[in-house]
Structures are given as C-alpha cells and as structure tokens.
C-alpha cells in the first residue's frame, strides 16, 4: 500500500526501474513485508456457496468445480513464488504476472487470449493522517473464474462477501464477469467516499479563506492541490479502462453485464468531474487569494504612506526650530511658536487634501 504523505510522491506516480532484468521475470516492486499473504477462495453458483482460506495454491485443485464461479482473492504481493504458482495453475502470461507484482502500474486493461487483465487503484482516506492512501488492485477474469490481487487486506469487498453468503441480489447468479463489475463498482464507490471527505475539507477551506487566510492556509491549498493531483492520476485512466471493457468483444463478457458496466462508467465520469470541480475550486481560491493579498498590501502601503506623508514634513519643521543656532530670529518672535504651529497645521491639512484628491482616504 502506498501512502500519499505530503512530501512523498506516491510510488505509482514515480517510476521504478527494473533495469537489467528480463521482461517477464518476476520480482516484487514495492514495500517488502514479512507476513504471509492470505488466499481466500470462493466457489459459488445460484444454489451453493463455499468459502475457504487456502494455505497454498496447491489446495486449489480440491475445490475446483465445473458448475460454479470461483473467486480467488490474494492479499499481499511480496511472495513472488506464490504469484508464480498462481500463474502456473491458471496458465497466465509472464508479462501479466510481472504487472501484478509491480505495484507502480498505471490503471490499464489488457486482453490476453483466454484472460482479461485489469489494473485499478483503490483509494482510502486516512482521517488520522488526513491523507489519501493508494493501493493497487489487479483483476484477472478467466472463464468462470476471477482472480483478485491486493497489496494489503482491506475491507472494501466485505459487502460483496456478505451478499455472496446471503445470496441476495444478482451476484450469485451473475457469472464471473458480473463479479468483476461488482469489484470495480466497489472500487469506484470507495472513490466517492474519498471525494466526499476531500469535498468537506475544501468547503472548510473556503470558509477559512473568507475569514482569515494565513500562511497555514496557503500550505493547506498547496497540500490539497497536491493530493488532488495524485487522486486524479489514480482515477482518470480508469475512464478508458471501463470504456474498453464495455467495448470488448470477448466471450468472457456477457451481454447482460454491459448495462452495469455503463453504469460503472457513469460513476467514474462523475468522480472525474468531481475531481475537476475540486481542482477548479482550488485554482479559483488561489487566484483570489493572490488578488486579495495584492489588495491588502496596497491597503497597508496606503496607510503607511499617509502617515509618513503627513508627519515626516511636520517633524522636519519641528527639527528646524529645534536647532541651536545662536541667531535664529524666529525663535525670539512673540508669536513664533503659534505661527509655526499654524504652518504645521496648514501643511498637514494640505497633505490631507492632496491625499483625498488621490482617493487614498
């Protein structure tokens, strides 16, 4: 799982070189972990459902059934041998396996002879750290079988499992391609949750923007734009991916699943539109922040200039008559002091009028 922390570019937006290794050679690219990956196998059809936790991929043979859809979910990708074993068992292309292990992939879809391979990004908003986490989900659709690979155990798909258990809705009768749709749909739904939370943060920022923008405020705009950048790069390519799935002329895709995919596509469009709206709002905020700052600096300058324009000349006059020359006839005059006060008042007033004419007051 890649953490989108401030000051760290998420790994799927950087690139990781595997320079020197042969294409198709299996090597996990991502953070290393030591816990054993979980393999969960569901075999279900309209009538029955079986749920087992496999200890090794070899156990799969015992549970294989011709009349049921199988869904194998693997949490944890750091064990390349396991993935290799899965590849052998399900007869997967070496490039496909390589892509599963490389968690720096961009979302994409690839059609192989007897399999459809989809890579998407799952998003999760971590409220404690106020950041979005990105995790890669790889899906392989084969005849009557779906393989899903996640980086870490998450609860995104719990409601799918609940429905499989209960047999409610179309899920148990929908076929493997319908399951792929449901997995994608859950992923997109998780985007909605993340975007809702980001939206609330932006509304708070707009509120703060009006009240009192300070250095921290600009920092939060900066962080937010950064976050939106990463979220956008995770969501955008999914548009094309789902469009391509819809248009696939593959026997693996049933006609009846198509309207659901169109629905998923609508949802992705909606997420990307939301991301765009947020970006526009942040951009608008920044533009206006600059205008306001510009205006305020102007305001501050005016006050300074008004004070200086009025008092500096007066102080100078006072300074002149504070000189200690022996022969300064004005100092001896009976009305010298009031006269100077009058002159000062006149100069001050003149300055005020001039400033008024300039519309600075």
């Amino acid at each position: 799982m890649t953490k989108v922390r401030s000051r760290r570019i998420p790994s799927f937006l950087k690139t990781v070189s595997t320079h020197g290794s042969s294409p198709g050679s299996l090597k996990h690219v991502g953070e290393k972990k030591t816990t054993k990956p979980h393999i969960t196998l569901w075999t279900y059809n309209e009538k029955t459902v079986e749920e087992v936790e496999l200890q090794s991929i070899e156990e799969y043979g015992k549970h294989k059934r011709k009349d049921a859809v199988c869904w194998m979910n693997i949490d944890g990708l750091h064990d390349a041998h396991l993935i290799e074993a899965v590849g052998k068992e399900f007869n997967l292309h070496s490039l496909l396996l390589e892509d599963i292990l490389n968690t720096t992939q961009h979302p994409k879809i690839e059609e192989y002879d007897d399999a459809i391979f989809v890579v998407v990004k799952m998003l999760h908003f971590d409220e404690k750290h106020d950041h979005v986490f990105v995790e890669q989900l790889s899906l392989v659709l084969k005849e009557n079988c779906v393989l899903s690979f996640q980086e870490e155990p998450q609860d995104y798909f719990d409601h799918i499992r609940d429905r499989l258990r209960s047999g409610m809705g179309k899920l148990r009768s929908g076929g493997a391609d319908y399951l792929v749709y449901r997995l994608l749909d859950s992923t997109v739904d998780a985007y909605f949750t993340v975007l809702e939370q980001l939206g609330e943060t932006i509304e708070d920022m707009e509120q703060q923007f009006i009240e009192n923008p300070d250095d921290a405020f600009i920092g939060s705009i900066y962080d937010m734009r950064r976050e939106m950048l990463f979220v956008r790069k995770a969501i955008y390519p999914l548009r094309d991916v789902v469009l391509q799935i819809q248009q696939l002329a593959s026997p693996l895709m049933q006609e009846s699943t198509r309207p659901f995919l169109r629905d998923a596509y609508d949802h992705i469009i909606q997420s990307t539109e939301t991301v765009d709206t947020f970006r526009d709002l942040l951009g608008n905020m920044l533009d206006n922040y600059l205008s306001i700052m510009s205006h305020r600096t102007n305001d501050v300058m005016k006050v300074l200039t008004i004070i200086a324009t009025i008092f500096i000349p007066l102080t100078f006059i006072a300074g002149v008559y504070g000189m200690n020359f022996r022969h300064m006839p004005e100092l001896q005059w009976e009305w010298g002091y009031p006269a100077v006060l009058c002159v000062m008042a006149a100069v001050g007033l003149g300055m005020l009028l001039w400033l008024k004419k300039r519309k600075w007051l």
Copy 2:
C-alpha cells in the same frame, strides 16, 4: 432541490457514496422531505385532453388510454416506494429507477430496450439570495408516454400545461417525443433566464470595477466565478445529451421532431457560449485587477519614497544642529542659520531633480 450557496458545493458536483448497497437497489440520495409527492397525469390527443391529480400510482390504470399520449409528472423523490411502484407499472430497469432517485447525477441520456432515459439539470436564479439553484429533472420516454420526475414542484412547465389545455400549437398533435422536446426546450429556456440575470450582474461588476474595486469586489468576482463553474457543469453535458438524442435511431423518436431537437441543440450551444463568454470576461477582469493593483502599489510606493527621500536627509541635518555640544562653531556663526537653510534647500532640490530624472515625478 440543491441550493448553490456560497461555500457549499452543490451536491451534484460532489459525489455521494452508496457504498455497500447493491447496484439497482432503490434509496433516495438527497435532502429528505416529508410532504407527499404530487402525481399529475395528463392524457391527451388532438381532440381531447384530461388532467388528473393521482393519489397513488394504482389509479393510473383507470386513466390509461390507447389512443392518447400520457404525461405523468411526479414532484418529489423522497418516497422510494412510490418510485418503485412507478417502475413496476411502467416496467423500468432497476438501474434507471436508481438514477431517478439519485439527484447527484450528471446530465446524461441512456437508451433502454423500450425506453429512453434523460437526466438534465434545471436552473433557477433566486434573486433574494443572489444564487442559482439546481434541480434534477429525469425524463423517461416510453411508447406514447412520458414520465417526468422533479425534486420539487416548480412552475417551469406551466406554459406547456397552458398549451395542452388550450390545444394551441403543435403540442397536442406532436406525440410523446415532441413533448420530451418541449420539456427539454423549457429547461434550456430557463437557462437563458438565469444567464440573462448573471449577465446583468457581470455588467454591474464591470461598472464597479472601473469605479472602485475593493475587497468586496474581489469577493464578488470569486463568488461569480464559483457560480459560473457550477452553472457550466450543469449545462455543458447537456450538449452531448441532446446531440445523442438527435442521433438516436429509436422507433420512439419521430423524424418530424428532429428539426426541433436541432433547434434545442442550437440553444444549448448558445448557452454554453454565453457561459464561456462570462468566464472569459471574469478572467479578464481578474487579470486586469491584478495589473491595476500592481500599478497602484507602485504609485503609492513612489509617493512614500519621494516624501522620504526628500525629508529624511533634511531632518537629519536639522538633527545635527539640534545637538547640544558645547563646541559647535557653526552655531555661533552670524549666518549659520540661513546657511543651513540654504544647504537644506539645495539638498531638497537636488533630490527633486534626481527623482525627476528617474521619471518618478
């Protein structure tokens, strides 16, 4: 109805997660209300017209007629059971019903086997709060029948009702697809009204911009750009929607309705062009605001600098001869005072000339 208030992002531009619910399950997404929804049923053909308020969807059977077009308008979406009943009565796809209830939809068109489903946004300018309200309108075109779903009772369609009653124009003889066109056309016409009012506000702002831009002015540009953003997101997708309706090869659409749809398309293009013009005008205003501020700050600074450049050195000279040293020969000179005044005048003049050379005066 979604209110586009400042500091609130309208819900259709955010996303609302229905995480965990099965696709096609009916749940109203939007503000909850307690009033009972209104169901109005119109059945009309060239010769007759009947208008009834239904208490429940079951009453529809009594009014169904083979030789007439029916238009059922439902105001209020918070009663999911009602929508479900409508769905059953008219045999609508579960995803379609879900979309009707979810008022966070983006404008779109979807073709089902025996129905065309259109989602558009209605705009309404609330002069009291100076804001644009957005409401979702869902239209379902079936053979000889149009269903329209609004979030709240509004008077957008009153003139359509008037025409149905009076039998004027092409409406009574135009078929169900012509009615859909008229509903869309009224929606677009409401855009024109909103844009007219926004246009007047922008003209006022341009006037104020020249006279005296202040902090509040920037705030109003900010609010206006924000509003335009939301209006744009509501109007833009309609372009594609109407284009797609025009190009539908569906038996539900008559050839004779096509020129009218082309006309509606022209109107939408015109609205989007207007939105673009407004955005450009606001952008131009903001750019120029920054230039003017920059220029004014420069101006203010110049005045400050001129005052300081002339008087600070003079004040210093006065300060020197205000010192109380016992042995300051100049103080004893007969012409000391006039001499210092002359020196001051010379310094002041020199500064003035130097400033003149710099073109600051």
Copy 3:
C-alpha cells in the same frame, strides 16, 4: 444593430429568453424600432437587371421571373408580420423565420428541404466611439432566389449592387449560390477592415507600452481584450459555417462556386489567425506589464530602503546628542562634535558598503 460598447455585453453573447412562447412563434428579439423596413428586390440574369423598392411583400408576384435570379434584401427586422408574409410567400419553415427575427443568434448554417439558411455577424468599426458594432445578417438561399435580412440599412453591399448594375465580372451570370458567396465574402472583407483598425490601435498601444504605461493604459488593454473577445466570438463560428457550405451536397450549390467558397474559407481562417495574433500580443503585453511593474516596485523600494538605511541611524545619533540631560560628558568634550560627525560618517559609509555588497547600488 448591437453596439459593442465598453461595459455592455453585446446581446448575441448573452442569451435572451423567450420563455413561455411556443417554438416557431414569431417575435422580434432585439432593439425595437419604428421606421418601416426597406424591401429591395433585384431580378437579374446575364442580359437584364431590374431593381425595385417594394412597398409590401405582395408586390413580389409582379416581379417574379423564371429566367432570372432574384435577390430580396430586407433592412429592419422589427416588423414580425412582414417576416411572416415573406415566410408564406417563400414557403419557409417556422423555425427558420424565428431564427431570422432573433438577432441573438450565433453564426450557423442549417439545411432545410428546399432552402439553405445561413446566419452570420457583420462587424463595423465606429471610429467616433472607438468600438465595434455587431449586426446580424441572415441569408436564405432558395432555387434561383436569395433572401437577405439585415438589422439596419448599411452600405456593405453597395459594391455588389454596383456590379449588378454594371454587369461587370461573374456576378450577373453566377447564379444564386454565387450571390450568396459574394455576400459572405463582403462580410468577411468587412472583418478585414475592422481588424486592420484594431491592429493599428494595438500597434499604438505597444508604442505607448514602451513609453509610459499608466492606469489608463491598463484600462485600454482591458477594453481591447474585451473587444477582441466579442470579435472572436462573432468570427470564429463562421469557420465551420463556410466549411459546411462547401461540403453541402445540395442541388442549390453549383460545383463552379466551390473554389470561391474555398477562397472565402481561407479569408476567414486568416481573420481568425489575426484575432489570435492580436490576443497573443495583448496577453504578452499584459504579462510583461506585470513584470515591469514588479521590477519597478522593487526599484522604488530599493531607493526608499537605501535612504532609510543610511539616514535613520544617523538621525538617531543626532537625536541622542540633542537630549537635554544635565550630565552628558561627551557634550563638554572639546572634540565631541567632530568626533560624532566622524562616527556618523563611518556609520553612513558602512551602510553604503553593505548595500554595495548586496548589489543594491
């Protein structure tokens, strides 16, 4: 005729709601006038030419000829009855008539069964008010007949009339479609004239930009960008319009007119390129204006800071020895005064050197 004055958005860039009226119902949208519209009818072929001013549309029948091209030009659109009569006489679609009357149309082309309908914008530079005026020109091409509708009598087409009278060139023998081309070409040529004048204004601005940009200068950039915005919105859509005319597979268009339309298309491309160039120039000017202002403010600040840095500390020292404490031993020293002057000189020099090191001098 819509006047593009500063602070007024030309009506064709706003939208005018005709809410409540049935589509195809005739109502003039634009400024009302009371003068009677002029109807001029030309009937010509290679051998003869006839020019009459009609008092009413009914007179048309008398002048109708099978072996000649007719050109009816109507100046003034405020008489909806007249337009309706024209529509009846020439059998025009109601939507077409509605579009003629609505002068807030964007340029477009529409093909009807037996007519081609073109809306373009005519531009006119008013040197007295330094503004561009926009007027709508609607053209209807029917078999052997051209109808043109203008908002006000103008002299754009006088040279076409001269040529008709004299029989020079291809005009009399060119057919109705060639006349449409000539009318379009004259319109585009008027764009050239307007752009030439705007170009001269921009050249003047560039000159002034170098000499002395002031508040008024920014204002003129602002006005110019605004004007370009409106001119652009009037010219741009014509590109597609003429392209579509070229590609029309209509019996109303002769093959021999096509190269001329290609030529007109080239001219429009050239106008749009010119508009783009002007926009880029204005944008470049504005960017550089901001840089220059930024640089000048920096310059002004430097001068202020230099003066303040040098004299404020010196003034402080003078202030100290201007205090009236009874026990200030330095004041009694024989060389106190020269010593303080030396200290002052040293401080001043030190400041100067420090400023020099900072490259501020």
Copy 4:
C-alpha cells in the same frame, strides 16, 4: 518583404482589406516598389541546362521545350500586369493570381485542375537590426514546369542554381515536383538558420537572467516572445501544407518524391518543436523572473523594516529627552543619561530578538 520590427505587426499577421474589389481581380497588396521585377528562366533536363533572364513574359515562348523541366522565378510582385501576363501564358486561375499578389497570405496549398499552388513564408534573420524578416514565396507546379514568385531578390536558392549548373545530385533528373521539394526544403533550411540564431540569443538571455535581470532584460524577453509569435505563425501552417502535398493524389507528384517530402515534413516538425521549446524557455524565464522579483522585493522590505523597527522607537526616546520642558526630573538625574542609553540598548536588543524569532534575521 515584410520587416518584423518591434512595434510593427508583420503584414501577413494583420489582414488587408480589398473591400469593394471583385474576387479574382488583380491588385498588389504590399509595399510598392519601382524597380523592375526580374524574370529568370531555367530549362533543364538530365543532359542540358539553359539559364536566361527574360525581359518580358512574351520571350518565354522562344525557350519553351517539351523535353525539359522549366523553372521560372520572378522576383518582385509590384507589377500586376506582369503577373497577369504570366497567368495568361500558363493558364492560371484568377483566384490563384490574386493570391500570388496578396503577400498577406497565410501558408497554404491549393489544388487546381492542372496546377498545384503553394504559399509559404521565407524567414531571414537580419543581424544588424536583430530582427526576423518575413517574405512570401508562391510556388506553382504545372506539368513539367515550376513557377516561383518572391517579393525581393534573395540568395536562398543560389545553391539550387549551383547544382542545376553543375548537374550534381538528383536535381537535374528529378522532375518538376522534385524541384518544388528542393525549393521547400531550402525554405525550411532557412528556418533552421533563423532558429539557430534565435536560440543563441535565448542562451545569452538565460545567462543574463542569472547575472542581473533589469528593465532592459524584461524588454528583451518581451521582444523575443513577440518575435517567436510571428515566427511561429509563419512556420506552423507549413506543417499541414507539406502533409497535404504528401497525400495529394495528383499526377503532378511522382511516387519517388514522396520520401523526400516526408523528410521535409520531419524538418518542419523539428522547427516547430524548436519554436515550442523556445517559447517554453521564455515562459519559464518570465515565471521565474516574477518569482525572483517577488522574493527580492520581500528581501528589500525586510531590510527596511528591520532598520525602521529598531531605530524609529529609539529615535522617539531620544526625542522625548530632547524636549525643553522646564520640569523634567529625569534630565537632572546624575545617571539619567546612562540609564536612557541602557533603556535604548534594551529596546534595540528586544527588537532584534523579536525579529530573530520571526526569522527575519
């Protein structure tokens, strides 16, 4: 020849109205000249080559040969009669002749029945005035014949003439279309020369940018961006022109010339990429210039504020004890003066610490 001087928009980027003249009527649009145009005629095939300077177009008949390619080059377009004579001799369309004479054309290609007409812009860097000159080159390819029209005699094609004379390379045997390619290629090559020189200027500017940006520097960025704008508008359309020539299915173009045109296309792509790079570099420079100015202004302000913050309060204290009240007890104190000095030191130190805490020191 159009001179791209600062403050003058080159004529091909403005538009020149020929309002009132009939399309296809010949009138030279551009600077008028009085020198007689040069007509040079080359007739060559693999074996022979003949080079003559014609006095009038009528002499062409004497040199016409069926078994040779002819290349007629005309320098100077101000003699419309000459061009008309050429048109008659070679049977050229009147619109084509009009385009040759109008030197405000944008680059384009047009296919006529028996001719291909190409307009391109030649660029020339004038090192003395540090500006780019733009000249129009019109090429007409007819069967076995190439006509080229330039505004002024230039030496762009001297190496082509050398090769014709010497018979080196493919030129003499390549046919008329190959000659057209060579003329285009020479033109593009001249772009390279101009861009090389502009590139050097930009490198110099980047050097200066680091050392010391001043007002003149911004001016030079401005001029450079302006120049790039004009160069770009001259080069960009050529992309499409050469692409269209490549794709022409005309008997005038031989298959063997196609790879060479592809090569020319590559070169134009390279020029446009170079122009884009230069624009990006200038934009980047300008952005950074603004940042640096912003930072420096901030720096200057800090120094001013530090000086003012420390000395203004101190000067005030000194001012207080410089007052001449009779009853100021502190003045009489034995340790009054040192005490005040200590207070001043304390205030100054406090200010310094406060500034340090703010990280301004």
Copy 5:
C-alpha cells in the same frame, strides 16, 4: 553525446542548419571526436553466439550467416565514411544515413521498403553535474539483422549482451524484431532510472520549500523545470513511435513480439505520466511560492506600518516640544512634561486600537 547543462539548450531541441548541402548527402552534425568508432558484431541463434569487434565494415562479409540473427552496434558517428560504407553494405536509403549522422533528430520511426528505421533518445543522469545527458540511438531493422548506432560507448545494453552470452530467456530465440524491442525496452528502462533520480530531487525540493525558500530555491525550480522540458521533449515523441511500430504491417515484425511492444508502450506512457506529474508538482510549487511571498511581503509591510504608525506621530510631538522658541508657554507649566507623556500614551493607544480594529494586530 549532448550534455543538458543549465544555460545550454540541448542540440536536439535546437535545429542545425545544413543549408546548401544536397538532401541525402552525408555529413556528421554534432560534436566532432577523433577516437575511432567501435563496431561490434553479434551473430546468434538459439544454439550459437559469436561476438566480434570489427576493424572495418569490410570484415562483415566473413561473419555473415544465413541461419543467425546479426546485431551490429556502432559507437561513434563522427566518421561519415564508415556510415557510408555501412549504408552500402546493407543497402540503406541515403536519407536514412543522413538521419543517422544528424544527432539533432527528434524521435521518429520510418518505414522503408526493406527496413524499419527508428530514432530514439537515450537519457543518462550524471550525478556529478546533477544534469541529464541526452544521446541519440538509431536502430535499423532489416531481415534477420539489427544495426544500432550510438554517439558514444555506453553500458546501457550490457545486460542484453550478458543474456546473449548466457542464452537465458527468450532473447536468443526471439528474432531480430525481438532484439529491437529489447533495445527500446532498455532505453525506456533508463528513463525510469533518470526519472527516479529527478523524483528524489523534487522530493528534496518540496522539503526545502517548506523549510526555507530562498533565491537559490527559485533557481533550482527554474533549473528543474528546464530539465523537465528537455526530458519531456526527448520522451514524448517515443509514445507515437512505439505505437506506430506496434501497428506496422511489416513482414519484419513477428506477431509474437507485439505483446512485448504493448508492454514497452505501457512503460513509455508511465514515463510520460511521471514527467507530467513532476511538471505539475513543480508548477504547483511555483504557484504556492508566489502566494507565500505575497503573504510574507504583506506581513513585513504590516510590521513596518505598525511601527511607523505608532512612533512617527509620537516623534513629531516630541519634536514640537524640542523646539527652542522663547515663548512656548507649555514648557513652563509645572505638569507640562507629564501631560505631554500622557498625550503621547493616548495617541499611541489610539493608534493601537485602530490597528486592532483593522485586524492588523
């Protein structure tokens, strides 16, 4: 090899004129070198592999084999005669040879009758100078034969050589087109390495940005954006190149290589996305830098204004009572001094309250 140093535009982004030379004539364009180019020849099939260093191109005949793939790698392009000899030996088009020698090419692919020609840019990050170096790699795929041309000996392909020697993987059995893929893949992989290093630099900059942005920081943003500009121009065109290779319907490309090319295409997409992310991050940083500077200047100004607003009027009052007029009654008052102190305190407090009201404190 072109060094991307600051202040030097890499030569492939400038253009180099070869004005006057005939197209197809061979001349090396780039830095001249004197060392002899290396020619390495590999001939391999599934069973055998031979590796020889050739002294001259004539030796190639001895090693030519029908049943093996040959890969000839030439390091160093300054010897045009050598390239000419290669061209003769392998029957290459003169334009192709010209392109090999001109190292200012943009990435491209060209299909010749019996050869596919690919130009790409190799990137190398030089940690010592903190800059990216660009080198041109030209590949020619002929039947059973690959020619590769590099500007300087580099170790990019060492692991390919290792695999050829060891016979591991698909390389020895993959054919000439698979070798081309591997060479391209290695090049793209080197992009990943470069981008990883640039990514780290950007992360460091983001860290520094928060801590303390100074003049040097802006300089480094500037340099980085410049570098990204060059990297982008080197990588972007490769997208189309690989796409075109994939779509080539050439007998030189085997069907089995296609999935690998799709994989390479994915990698390039990933690099370009990374470049875009970096550009966006740098742009975001710059925008925010300007906002922060603007805010800070405002802050600094406020402090200055507060100090000046409070103390300048007070200093003026002190100045007034420092005047030496003989008749200043206040000076004689018993409570004059405390009274003035109170007035000063009142004025100071008033100013403070006013500033507080303005929210400046």
